[in-house]
Assembly symmetry: C4
């Protein structure tokens, strides 16, 4: 029996709440109080078609997994569902105009260009979710800025006719020393979501890390894999360890080659840029007090399952349930790298979660520069693989990380921005640009292959200096009369 | 006998000067030359109702305390007092419009938001008094900026399911490691004044320090206390030690649990932003020379009683008149902390008076980082409680201070701005935001309770570096042609 | 016989060139090639009244001293001299309007205020001459900026009821530890010139240093002295040592109490801001090539007599011709301070000539911080008096210099700006502001008198760091989307 | 037989492609695939006159050297060649207007002034080629900025009446310690090209380095030499060593006195500013993918012949083919300077190719400060001549390099900007300005001749510090209410 729009429309409040997703009706009444994003966001769509809102936040298989079959009410005759006349949104009209006038892909010369275009053309909420970070976003920017405190000491007169960028990560040979790190909610940027990253990673033979919070389901992402393509799994550990175990073992079965356990996010960050945008939504103008967290942005909404009690004591259990190499993602001090070696894990990612968690966390590259000399001194640098992510925008950034001793460099947002603007082609161009920049810059520092890179090629003396200027003396600044260049000479009028 | 408006209006010059305050007349002729704010400010209201001007500057009980009863002339029939037709002030109209369009309280996500809204909506004079600071306001800004030179070294894989922010200050258990520090003239911001802070402190179980220069009287603030709520007393030492003694012993009697003696203000600061505003007042356009100090802002006017001869030699006397723990507020170098230990006081507040006194005084947090290692080295860190204030705007700032070894962190202006914009609810939201930020960030640095915080979680190497950039080379800057991102592609017109 | 305007007007070219100055005619034909400012500037006024141009650049007695009496042609009947109809200059009209609307003197709260008003109201050429400095004016600004890298470590609980700012410089008791240093061409700023500084110095009992290049004559400045007022002489050493000797011995005879020999200016600086202004003059639009220096600003024009061969070997000669204490003005490295001690002079001024000579010369205050520890280490700190000038704008600046060990602090431009805007009253207010700031800030660092100041009250660790930021990454900056505070909430229209 | 325009016009595609250059026709069909700049750029002119595009990129003798005589088709009757009606380009009209209103040459007081005028008046493509640099142009700006981290410690009381700027470079006596370094494509800036530099160098008796990629041919540049004028040769080493040998031996024969082998450019840089401009060209709007490099700016197009396999092993071969002193241009670390000594070359140029190659390469001046103490320590400072280039804009910059121990300082872009705006006269004025600035500043640091300069005259402590500020806290910045100077006082209207 096919339901009609009016059948569904009757169930439009918390007493009985039905919603339509992809042409099927679901009774979510009992689920309301459990919804990680708060019940209000569902009630807004009670009795209506919620597909558009649902899609970017939830993988396809969410309802199958989490809603009892008995509450799957079956197909709806969509021709009978009242189309909500969307008010013409002048902001959206402007945005569509900006999209129509987007630069050519070939005009994007570097990763910043994609970000700039994403800022112009993405929906505000999606841009807010991707670009936002913790507190004052100091760490967000420090991640990139830290690379600017590392300078090169290039060597000359080395034969660099043939440059080889390939390297090996956790046993996988890749064409370049970067990988696609895990980022959430890909469909906010592009309707196809993270499968585009899978395909682009294949084109360039680099590894993709599958995110727990992907918009695409885990299966979709694994199914998109081709040939001997390699994927890793990023894991937020669920309070229910059975779920965690199921996820891990399924991933291993489906061929994932590395388990990256996120350790920098016992609670997901509060990101004010993201939160600020909620208040421009219609329907959210009413003050709600502090009762629920649903005004705290997308990150909070989707992460309530994460276990904040995860600790070193849990590591042996992980080692017992999988043979995949285990890598701790989000290590932030050399002491914990040493402890990771003791714990017998295969690797660490020095990362602060793209600046989205703890503001004033140091950049991955700085932690790398702190870590590697200690590991070498203890003879442990071969015992553990050290990855790094955060703030990478240039081929030179990757080269700097490799000089310091990283095994690989994770890149996240730049791929999202490229995907959100030019789809898969955009992501591939970003990868190509990085390879091109790396190839040229390897030549220019005098190294023909990744193994030739070494710390002596860098000057990192400034890296550890976190200074800021004495506050400006406004009165002097107002008063000073700056020098000027000569002005044009106006010709006498006849 | 009830006086009439015209009775009072006859006494309108320095020969006989009556004023009406809260419906009662007073003869202040003899008091004119003694008035700390100068006689002119009173003469402006001679023969008139001065309540509106009087209220924010003077506690309710001022006239009872300082004016002989014989000069209390009794009630005035206010219906007979001529209402001064207030000229419509276009600035005030604009301000009222801004108030009407204020953001929702729930849109304030951090302490800066309150300050921004206060700047938009407070009366200029009140904003000037609260926000101003010494000389070029370098220290004012350095206080916050110094926190930005401290970075985190978070530890991972610690069970942070349950976060406990409570701690103990001078024997009082509190729910969070911050307190409401003393700030003057609360009624400039809100007609109810500092009692709102008392009530908010109660709601969040944190301590309030009662200011000597509050707009509310000491008794009002103590009376507003509820249950086992704890208050401290901030003391400016009066030249007349009998007055000081009376104040201290009264405070102890009324239940204050700590005596914070201000030692960084033998003279109150000259704050140019505050002074500048006086010149926009009508009636002040005439040049007065240097004869009086009445153009030097509110701070000077209210502080002439402070004793600049206060010295270490006075400490034993304080110890003899009270059993309250004695804390020196405004200590600014480790040498004086050591001397405070010797003097046998219970604590110090490392503070520069919110940047309002000596410009280029260092921030409290820097002095803390200088002090604690020396105390530990001498085995004195348990001998004295070290508090800090100034520049705190984020939960991370508080965490940084606690990592370094502070017992508690004082916060002043942010509460005033919240009070001035949203009243008690604003103050409570500020407290809640700080608690929320702290809870999350404790999780993210891997500490479940305050005692777990330690200096190893910080990188303070940059903290002591006070640099400023070489002045900018204007000609290079004008001449350099910066890179740009790709521009939009204008579609050909048909 | 009184000349007429037409008598003079006939002598209007290089063959016969007469000019009128203060109502008298002079034949300057033979002097043309020797004129330090170039002959063209004189020829512009050949046959005309040149008083207005002549006055600020030349002391009254110039013609008497340097032009043979036979060429003094006697009085001119000024009623017969054609008044040049001055074109209404719209810039000058605007300037007069700005002067009419100048703020009240009592609204000037600090030294920057005077500079800001001077910039608005001075003639462009005069502003250019006073405010300009060498090359990119880096040192000009560094002079002030360096003080911002010195922070206070105030001591508390010191009896500061009575503050005493008096000190002794070269045997003279003064009321404050600053003096009026030598600056050229005072009449550019005010028609009365440097005598105003003499009078203001008297009012505040501080010392004035008489400049070689004053607009007022030496005699005028000495004559303006009152009572036991003390003056020093600043000396540019003339290539002709007889002239130098005459000047020095005359100064001693007239009561000067110190001889400050300028040693940082073997050639006067090239100041582009000053030079740039020449090109806006009418009459200078024609390109002249590099033939003369007359386009190089006022400084070059007036200084061709200075001897660039002056050397250490000349010091004994100076010691032989005068009993005044000799002070070397413009010493810039500790090695030369030590050499000055050896040479037996009484003092040095650590100075870079207000940033007007060598760009990237270090600030006086930095050289002081370099010098004093070395002198103390060698036991020489009592052997020589060390003065400092450049960049002082606040009472705290003076205190910092005195803490480091200076005997006195020279101030130049701020007095000129005050004089140019408010005349003698302005200069006196500047002096009063400095005293007021010093008095309060002495209290706040816990010192009752100048001798109590010591280096331990300062943190100078940042002083020697000359850093500049890595150039900004424009693309990141363009692309970053900064956080904003909540916006106003527009009320729905009815 | 003279060809007509229509004869040529028939050969307008890749099957048969003729072009007219300087009135002669050439068949370039077979050459198309080999053209370093890509075949498309030629096809745009197939059948047409290509002189205007050809000239700045190719020396006159290019076709004679590289195109078989059989393909030289002989003269064309230019009166029969169709004139392409150039569309009026509004940008070009504006540019011509700016040229017409250019400041006088005598208004250019420093090297920045020329750059500013060049930016206003040069064709965009030419400006882009000259001014652009690698990646984010950080090194480009650091080159100048690094000089700003070096401060002077001038010595006083030295006889500086006579300043001598002359010095000796590779055995040649020159009038000033700078030389004209090699820069490509001079005709982009001025139709006469680099011969103007040759002539200006002669006027000022400084050395010119002849660039491999000059717009003028090598012979033209050598022919422009006068008297005993000295030139050096800059060499990009060709993959075909026979060509390289021919070039080197020809240069020696024609009298070049030094061979500067470029070692920092195994591949020429990718410069985004230059690339960006291509997209504003008409005809380039079509997206081409990554197939060719022709969108990557001029540098790539002209440099495909350079041998990236050049290595230390090649040095003996160079030594075997020439007696000219060999200097390695583009050395960037002290280790390679030491290796150069071992290799027996006569000199090195510490250079990063004007910031055009590897972004985050350090400045030459910093490498110099790293290098010279090591050379002195090893007793090698007389064994090798060390030159430096990059970022020099002031006489003080040159003096700083000479103090550190450089033998000479190369200057490139400033001469190009002067040439592009004022031709030879501009270049000569730049040279004169540098000499004037040097002469004065030698006086001011107390050195009469170049040999007197020494490292003790500098403070280089800040030079090695590569810091950047902690990212700005936008919310604080928005919220802070800066101090202001007093506003004008509006007079009451009557």
């Amino acid at each position: 029996m096919v339901l009609t729009g009016s059948d569904v429309a009757k169930h439009n409040d918390e007493k009985s709440c039905w919603v339509i997703i992809h042409g099927k009706a679901y009774d979510v009444t009992e689920f309301l109080p459990e919804h990680p994003g708060g019940e209000e966001i569902i009630l807004k769509y009670a009795g209506k078609d919620a597909t558009e809102e649902f899609d970017p936040i939830h993988p396809r298989d969410t309802l199958d997994k989490y809603l009892d079959k008995s509450l799957h009410l079956g197909p709806v005759d969509m021709s009978t569902v009242a189309q909500e006349a969307k008010r013409e949104d002048p902001e959206e009209v402007e945005r569509q105009k900006r999209i129509a006038e987007m630069p050519l892909l070939s005009e994007c010369f570097n990763l910043h260009d994609f970000e700039a275009i994403a800022r112009r053309t993405m929906k505000k909420g999606a841009w807010g979710y991707y670009s936002s970070a913790a507190d004052d976003e100091i760490t967000l920017r420090e991640n990139h800025s830290a690379y600017h405190r590392i300078w090169f000491r290039p060597q000359i007169l080395v034969d660099v006719a043939n440059i080889n960028l390939s390297t090996t990560m956790l046993g996988t040979k890749v064409d370049a020393p970067f990988y696609v790190t895990a980022t959430a909610l890909g469909k906010l940027g592009h309707p196809e979501g993270e499968v585009l990253l899978t395909r682009a990673a294949r084109s360039h033979n680099v590894i993709q890390m599958i995110p727990t919070l992907a918009s695409c389901s885990f299966d979709e992402l694994v199914d998109a894999r081709q040939g001997d393509q390699v994927q890793w799994l990023q894991l937020y550990v669920n309070k229910d360890r059975d779920i965690t175990k199921r996820i891990v073992q399924n991933a291993e079965r489906r061929g994932c080659k590395g388990l990256f356990i996120t350790v920098d996010a016992p609670q997901l960050g509060r990101r004010e840029k993201d939160m600020r945008l909620k208040f421009t939504d219609s329907g959210s103008n009413v003050q709600k007090g502090t009762k629920t967290d649903n005004t705290q942005g997308a990150a909070r909404a989707i992460s309530s399952f994460i276990d904040p009690s995860l600790s070193w004591a849990d590591i042996p259990w992980f080692q017992s349930i999988t043979k995949m190499p285990i890598i701790l993602k989000g290590v932030q001090r050399v002491e914990d790298v040493l402890r990771a070696v003791e714990a017998g894990v295969q690797g660490v990612v020095l990362s602060n979660h793209g600046g989205r968690q703890l503001d004033f966390a140091r950049s991955g590259i700085e932690i790398l520069a702190e870590t590697m000399p200690v590991l070498r001194q203890h003879g442990l640098d071969k015992k553990i693989d050290v990855f790094v992510d955060g703030g990478v925008r240039r081929g030179t950034d990757i080269i700097k990380a490799m000089c310091l001793g990283a095994k690989g460099v994770g890149i996240g947002r730049p791929f999202l921005y490229a995907m959100s603007t030019y789809g898969q082609a955009g992501v591939e161009r970003v990868m190509q640009l990085l390879k091109d920049e790396m190839e040229m810059n390897m030549r220019l520092i005098g190294c023909a292959k990744i193994e030739d890179l070494h710390p002596g090629l860098l000057d990192t003396r400034g890296l550890f200096v976190h200074s800021n200027s004495t506050p400006v003396d406004s009165l002097s600044h107002i008063t000073y009369d700056p020098l000027v260049v000569p002005s044009q000479r106006l010709k006498a009028k006849l």
